[in-house]
């Protein structure tokens, strides 16, 4: 990559950073000590995680009956949380793989953390299909491994089995891709490390990266190949998750629009989660120079587009159900029956959070505001959780036979497990923020000098003025 500095290209990294500055900035959280804020958040997350773990152990020890499910609504928070976490895990691959292929260099500031988020979210997601099993100790039976039961094999017709493959593939490819990117950065930390133990550990983690030209050449090639492999996964994972519903016969689930709509929804929620995390992280870890207002705006644009796709899907679902004239479609999650029925609040939470509020992002000022973007990302996260809750619970609560209609209400165990996974996610993420290079510094260095330095300085001045004027947002 050349270091040709375009006189007109907008800068991607603020401040007049040198290569050393970048190294110092990235290594700072790892080499320094954690501040109070980190400890407070970590403690809360750890407590939530342990509490959730207790709830999981209680469930496994006593029975799924400790959840609020019943014989008509056999899934609720468990699968809602599963789909929600999988969706969140979508942005990482999209950012690192798809944007890499499209040569979107702005991704370099955020891809490491986005991918980390992906992996940690997929870990949470993977938890739910396992613990929702009535006999979790027999969970390995869902894997097609040779066994002593003779010809007993898994059922390849089952979308749940496809899930097993989709999720595990996604997790492993994401992990490999992430780790490959981490190699030169780990090596950088290793080279800077002063304590022998630390040096040893980072030496191991960096797989003996030597920084030779051959290393770099292979690194580039592997990244490209992995990006090529990962790109279809962006589409496949949530497509397959949507098959859990789309291939069924239940009104509201049995819908051909699900795959594209689920993928768009996943990207939508994934970017929202990236926003939530990075807006906080750029402050806490002093990464303002690397995660800039432009990044936030770019991501908001993606959110607007995918949110638009999702809203269109909602409309089409609503219309097609209504237009069919079938009484079985009167109470699906997007119907008048749902809007006026006992779950009206969940219906409207979905519509408002996912389709109405995000329209504010059309306003440039709001789109470029950190605080507004942060709140919007939280709203979208809530909205997307409700989308899955509505799809599962509202549809199951209004099945074919009215005699089977009932409702669902979560128990404290349902809530504990959900909060537990959020805790677990943050435990992992916070540990990551303290031990991993949170920005792909090797890549970032490649774009450090690609914009006009004159322009860069001007921008820096303006940023500085804005910064002073706005205070600390």
């Amino acid at each position: 990559m050349s270091h040709y500095e375009s006189p007109i290209r907008e800068t991607l990294i603020l401040g007049d950073k040198s290569y050393l500055d970048v190294s110092n900035d990235i290594a700072a959280p790892i080499e320094g000590k954690a501040n109070r804020l980190w400890w407070i958040v970590f403690t809360i997350a750890l407590v939530a995680f342990l509490w959730g773990l207790g709830a999981i152990i209680y469930t496994i020890g006593t029975g799924i009956g400790v959840w609020g499910l019943n014989n008509k609504i056999n899934w609720a928070w468990d699968i809602t949380n599963f789909v929600w976490w999988v969706g969140i895990g979508h942005a990482g691959t999209l950012i690192s793989a798809v944007l890499l292929l499209f040569r979107q260099k702005w991704r370099m500031g955020i891809n490491r953390s986005a991918e980390a988020m992906t992996i940690f979210a997929v870990v949470q997601a993977g938890l739910f299909p396992i613990i929702h099993m009535g006999r979790v100790w027999n969970a390995p039976w869902v894997l097609p491994i040779p066994n002593q039961f003779g010809s007993l094999w898994t059922n390849f017709n089952s979308p749940l089995l496809w899930d097993v493959f989709a999720i595990s593939t996604y997790l492993s490819v994401s992990l490999v891709f992430w780790w490959t990117g981490l190699l030169p950065d780990f090596a950088m930390i290793r080279d800077r490390a002063t304590k022998p133990f630390q040096k040893k550990i980072y030496g191991l983690l960096s797989f003996g990266w030597s920084g030779r030209a051959k290393d770099w050449q292979r690194f580039e090639e592997v990244s490209l190949v992995l990006a090529g492999l990962a790109t279809p996964l962006v589409l496949s994972v949530h497509t397959i998750v949507s098959f859990d519903f789309a291939t069924s016969v239940i009104p509201g689930w049995h819908s051909t629009v699900y795959p594209p709509y689920f993928v768009a929804g996943a990207v939508f929620s994934g970017f929202a989660m990236v926003q939530t995390l990075l807006i906080v992280m750029r402050k806490v870890s002093n990464l303002e120079a690397y995660i800039t207002r432009d990044h936030i705006e770019n991501m908001n644009k993606v959110i607007l587009v995918t949110g638009g796709i999702v809203a269109t899907a909602y409309l089409s679902e609503f219309f097609v159900g209504w237009y069919s004239g079938s009484s079985y479609e009167d109470f699906t999650y997007l119907s008048i029956g749902a809007a006026t029925g006992p779950y009206w609040w969940a219906f409207w939470a979905l519509i408002l959070c996912n389709s109405v509020f995000p329209q504010l992002l059309w306003i440039k000022k709001l789109r470029r505001s950190f605080i507004f973007s942060f709140f919007m990302s939280i709203i979208i996260n809530i909205g997307m959780w409700f989308e899955r809750f509505d799809i599962i619970v509202i549809n199951l609560s209004r099945g074919h036979l009215p005699s089977t209609w009932t409702q669902f209400s979560p128990t404290f165990v349902d809530i504990s497990i959900y909060l537990g996974t959020i805790g677990f996610f943050f435990v992992l993420f916070l540990l990551y923020a303290r031990t991993f290079p949170v920005v792909a510094q090797a890549e970032v260095k490649s774009i450090l000098k690609s914009s006009g330095s004159q322009y860069k300085k001007e921008v820096a001045k303006q940023e500085d003025r804005e910064y002073r004027a706005q205070g600390s947002n």
Binding site: G63, G68, S403
Partner: protein, 1012 residues
């Protein structure tokens, strides 16, 4: 501020501080000789046990102990040393016997496995009462009731029967000499041998009197029959001979006059040659019978009496005194149809009033009804309310010296129970026979523990000329003794009851016919000598004027019995407690039924509502009738309830001999005589939590779910008009659903292919099949809390739908179709709806949605057409249950067996004896559902194989089809074209549930034809 107060911790410290001081210095009260032991260095050194050895020993013993503890418990299976001749392990024996508990009478066939009775089947070869209702089906579990009396009691202390009898006989002799009365207070036993024993007893003790008492009395009808024909009995009815049936408050498909009429009724409910019976019901609360009627009219209890009089007047043209009712037009119409039926008509009434029963008899007489059998009368309700009332007066007057109670629980069931208990205190000898502790056994001195009917010998004559034998199917489980054995002992007769019974039968009934044959068949019929009865003349004018004086009250009371608990004898039976009532679909409770209009017009608007998890809650009220108040009765708003009435079910609120979980509902017996009396209800604080399994009562415009048609349409229109099959667009052409198929079909015409067929025209919703399924398949009881949150485990449920006023036509008229208002209105049943029942179990779809989604293939298709469930393969993802359009799959949310959280029959050794050894008890975390009783069909195939023959037509059965009294449920191999079910496949009335989904179910339904 400093304090100089001194605190002490004990009196000793205050008084004698030296002891305390001494104690505080030494840790142990007595000196421990550590010094002696360790101080002797020499001895220690010479010891051969080194510290190392010590550690070795400790290590070895710890390891040994933990190894020993690791060994799992060994549950031994011990083979027979001498195998009993008639027991082959794994092969069931069947014994014909009869149940006669005073409320339910039926000829049954008991399935016995390895010496344990595990299932009650109807004895279909018997000619009368050969159907089993839910309670009879469930009675096998009452045999294994953990709360049963395990021996005789004297003043609540155990006593042996020798001392017991000494005590009884000495007091009886004394009473006899004093000339005081010895009274037998029993339920209806209808037993020839007991009658004979009582005669012999009376010979020894001449002051003996026998008072028969039915908790749920039919005294009015029996008295009326006695007045007209001079015998205490009930006329028998054959509803199959009636083209027009009018019932005024008679729940004849339920427990009216002992029940057993559903078979005859059903025979004429399927149109044959364009004809079927017409059933018109006038009643107060929605009964099973009313729900099945072609026309149902709601009337208050008082108005029912006028309705009968008006009906009589309309039929005979006479002008007996009466009053008008709101349904007089319908009554006139009914009268016209009754008359037109030309003797093929019958009027029955359930009003507990002799006068009303006399009018009903007069109507049938006027109609020359062919459906009434006055000769071969029924014996199963003989109670005499007047005599019972007299007895209580006598007891309190002190003229009764001894009271012996059998098959009755008067302290619980009597309206004036307090007076009875007060009277008991004045009786020298109070003795009760009982299987379980009851409210009565608590109040008497002596209690004789009686065996369950499955452990007893006995006989019963259900109708005149039919006799049934009762034989033990298991050795007595406890130290129990039959009523008959006690009578023999007290009269000084040393023969065993078995010999006595045999003798009585040989001499009086069999008259030379084989005893063994009778015992094998379970029943024996004699031919009646009489062919007619001559009636006495009755002054109907007087009867009518007495009847017409009935006061019409603002809010009238009705009491009724439910299919589940009946009179309350089996209140400790969890199967019956958990059985959802066919009408309200609510289990584990009784409640005050009230109409919507009344509930809303009440000062404080009584409500039912659903909470967050969908469960049903209701307001609580205090019910006061004539100064008697029943507190905290939950209110259930019942469509079809007559305005200005409330109804409460009997049989609940038991407190003795019933475990805590089963102490449900309120006792309505204090009000049993107050039918028609004015009721005051006051709303009280709090709310009641119902365990209701169906929370949406209407079909929401999905009328094809329970397809129905009128008789006129059925006759005059083509099938496509009233039973259209769903169409699909295939290559832009409308084709039948059967022609569209995503998959390649495998050839199911080879071998057996099972189909289950359910005729909705003859299904009365009686729920016997639900209990039969529960028993056969070891379905767990989950308790009120779990039922409440829609976790019922019944493999077979009976959906009940009401019609709604908001039809599509009406919605279009009002222009609200598709709006929230429209949907909301659709959810409300009409005030007087038509009712549909639909038994739903696994539909065994040929294209089962559950099968494709299971990741581990735990549910897959059987070669015989069933959808099968491999429990031990199931990992419990519950995806199958979600993808089942019929919602018939049941998940084991908890460990239901051997778990003290679910303290029902599967949690005690005795209760587990009822489990069917052919069916596995499911563990926590697996899915279960109807298997089409594969254990039964396989046994049938094996039997045929062993005998080297093909399976006979009609030989295949499932628990539900076996229990179905009306024959609404049929099961069989459709590849055998002689099978009824194979023919039903082609029937015009046949449809499949949600056929348009494309699941191709192997369960068929025949639609109901309403003769309206």
């Amino acid at each position: 501020m400093a304090s100089n107060k001194k605190y002490w911790t004990s009196a000793a410290e205050l008084k004698n501080s030296s002891i305390v001081e001494k104690l505080s210095k030494t840790e142990f009260v007595t000196e421990i000789p550590t010094e002696d032991f360790l101080g002797d260095k020499e001895a220690l050194e010479t010891s051969s046990t080194s510290r190392r050895d010590f550690l070795k020993y400790v290590g070895f013993t710890t390891a040994a102990v933990s190894l020993a503890a690791c060994e799992g418990p060994v549950i031994k299976t011990i083979p027979y040393l001498n195998k009993p001749n008639d027991i082959i392990p794994g092969v069931a024996d069947y014994y014909a016997t009869a149940i006669a508990d005073g409320f339910d009478f039926a000829n049954v066939l008991v399935k016995v496995r390895e010496g344990r009775p595990i299932k009650i089947n109807p004895n279909k070869e018997a000619t009368s009462n050969n159907g089993t209702n839910a309670r009879v089906q469930a009675s096998v579990l009452s045999l294994y009731d953990n709360n049963r009396l395990k021996g005789a009691l004297n003043n609540k202390k155990a006593i042996n029967y020798t001392d017991f009898d000494k005590e009884v006989v000495s007091v009886l002799d004394q009473v006899n000499t004093n000339g005081k009365k010895i009274v037998f207070l029993t339920g209806t036993m209808a037993s020839p041998s007991i009658d004979k024993l009582l005669v012999e007893f009376k010979a020894k003790y001449p002051t003996t009197e026998h008072v028969i008492y039915d908790a749920v009395s039919e005294s009015g009808a029996v008295d009326a029959f006695e007045t007209v024909y001079g015998t205490r009995a009930l006329p028998n009815y054959d509803f199959s001979k009636a083209d027009v049936i009018v019932s005024v408050g008679a729940d004849f498909l339920g427990d009216w006059q002992g029940g057993g009429y559903e078979k005859g009724y059903a025979a004429n409910r399927v149109p044959k040659h364009g004809k079927m019976s017409k059933h018109i019901q006038f009643e107060t609360n929605m009964s099973l019978t009313g729900a099945n009627a072609d026309k149902r009219f709601a009337l208050k209890p008082s108005e029912q009496k006028f309705a009968l009089l008006n009906l009589y007047n309309a039929i005979t043209g006479q002008g007996l005194t009466s009053k008008t009712t709101p349904q007089d037009a319908a009554i006139k119409d009914a009268a016209t149809q009754l008359k037109a039926a030309n003797g093929k008509a019958v009027v029955v009434t359930g009003i507990q009033d002799k006068n009303a029963q006399l009018i009903a008899m007069a109507i049938n007489d006027a109609l020359q009804s062919q459906a009434v059998d006055l000769v071969n009368t029924k014996n199963i309700r003989q109670g005499n309310d007047a005599k019972v009332a007299q007895l209580i007066t006598d007891m309190n007057a002190g003229t009764v010296g001894a009271i012996i109670i059998n098959q009755a629980n008067p302290v619980y069931t009597l309206a004036n129970s307090k007076e009875f208990v007060a009277g008991l205190k004045k009786v020298k000898l109070t003795l009760a026979f009982a299987t379980t502790p009851t409210e009565t056994t608590k109040e008497v001195q002596l209690v004789n523990a009686t065996p369950h009917y499955l452990e007893s010998w006995g006989d019963v004559s259900i109708t005149k000329g039919t006799y049934s034998l009762m034989q033990p199917t298991i050795n007595k489980l406890f130290d129990t003794r039959q009523f008959q054995e006690a009578l023999l002992s007290w009269t000084g007769n040393t023969t065993s009851y078995y010999n006595y019974l045999k003798n009585t039968w040989n001499v009086e009934i069999l008259k030379g016919q084989s005893w063994n044959n009778a015992l094998h068949n379970g029943t024996f019929n004699t031919v009646s000598e009489e062919s007619t009865r001559t009636p006495n003349t009755v002054d109907l004018t007087a009867v009518a004027s007495a009847l017409a004086k009935t006061k019409n009250n603002a809010l009238e009371l009705a009491v009724y019995t439910k299919v589940g608990l009946g009179d309350g004898q089996q209140a400790n039976n969890p199967w019956l407690q958990e059985l959802p009532d066919p009408i309200t679909r609510t289990s584990w409770d009784n409640y005050l039924l009230i109409s919507r209009a009344d509930a809303e017009s009440w000062d404080e608007n009584l409500k039912n509502w659903t909470v967050d998890n969908g469960a049903l809650n209701g307001d609580l009220v205090d019910v006061t009738v004539d100064g008697i108040t029943i507190k905290n009765v939950p209110v259930y708003i019942q469509p079809g309830q007559a305005k200005g009435t409330v109804a409460l079910a009997l049989g609940y609120g038991r407190t003795e001999g019933v475990q805590k979980e089963m102490m449900t509902g309120v006792n309505a017996y204090p009000l049993v005589n107050k039918v028609g009396a004015n009721v005051t209800i006051t709303k009280v604080a709090g709310e009641h939590e119902f365990a209701c399994v169906q929370l949406q009562h209407t079909m929401m415009g999905r009328d094809e779910i329970v397809n129905e048609t009128s008789l006129a349409d059925f006759i005059h229109k083509p099938k496509q008009a009233w039973n259209p099959s769903p169409k699909f667009s295939l290559d832009h052409q409308e084709v039948d659903v059967a022609e569209t198929d995503l998959w390649e079909k495998f050839d199911d015409t080879i071998g057996t292919h099972f189909n289950l067929s359910i005729d909705l025209a003859t299904c009365t919703g009686c729920a016997a099949c639900v209990i039969a399924c529960h028993t056969e398949n070891n379905v767990p009881v989950v308790g009120k809390k779990e039922i409440r949150v829609s976790r019922d485990m019944h493999w077979l449920r009976i959906d009940r739908y009401y019609t709604s006023e908001m039809t599509k036509e009406r919605g279009e008229e009002e222009g609200i179709v598709g709006s929230g208002k429209y949907f909301e209105a659709q959810t409300h049943p009409e005030d007087h709806p038509e009712v549909s029942f639909q038994p739903v179990m696994c539909q065994h779809c040929s294209h089962a949605p559950c099968e494709t989604v299971c990741p581990v293939a735990a549910t897959s298709h059987g070669r015989q057409g069933q959808n099968q469930m491999a429990y031990n393969r199931c990992v419990g993802t519950r995806y199958c249950a979600n993808n089942c359009p019929y919602r018939v799959r049941r998940f084991n949310w908890f460990q239901y067996a051997q778990n003290s959280e679910f303290n029902f029959n599967m949690n005690n050794d005795l209760g587990r004896m009822v489990l069917n050894p052919d069916v596995v008890v499911r563990s926590r975390g697996v899915m279960e559902k109807c298997s089409m009783c594969i254990q039964m069909t396989q046994a049938t195939i094996l039997q045929a194989k062993k005998e080297g023959r093909p399976v006979k037509t009609g030989e295949f059965e499932t628990a539900c089809t076996n229990a179905c009294s009306t024959g609404a449920m049929r099961f069989g191999d459709v590849n055998n074209h002689d099978e009824k079910v194979a023919k039903l496949q082609e029937d015009d009335r046949t449809f499949k549930l949600l056929e348009f989904v494309g699941t191709q179910p192997n369960v068929l339904y025949q639609l109901k034809v309403r003769n309206s």
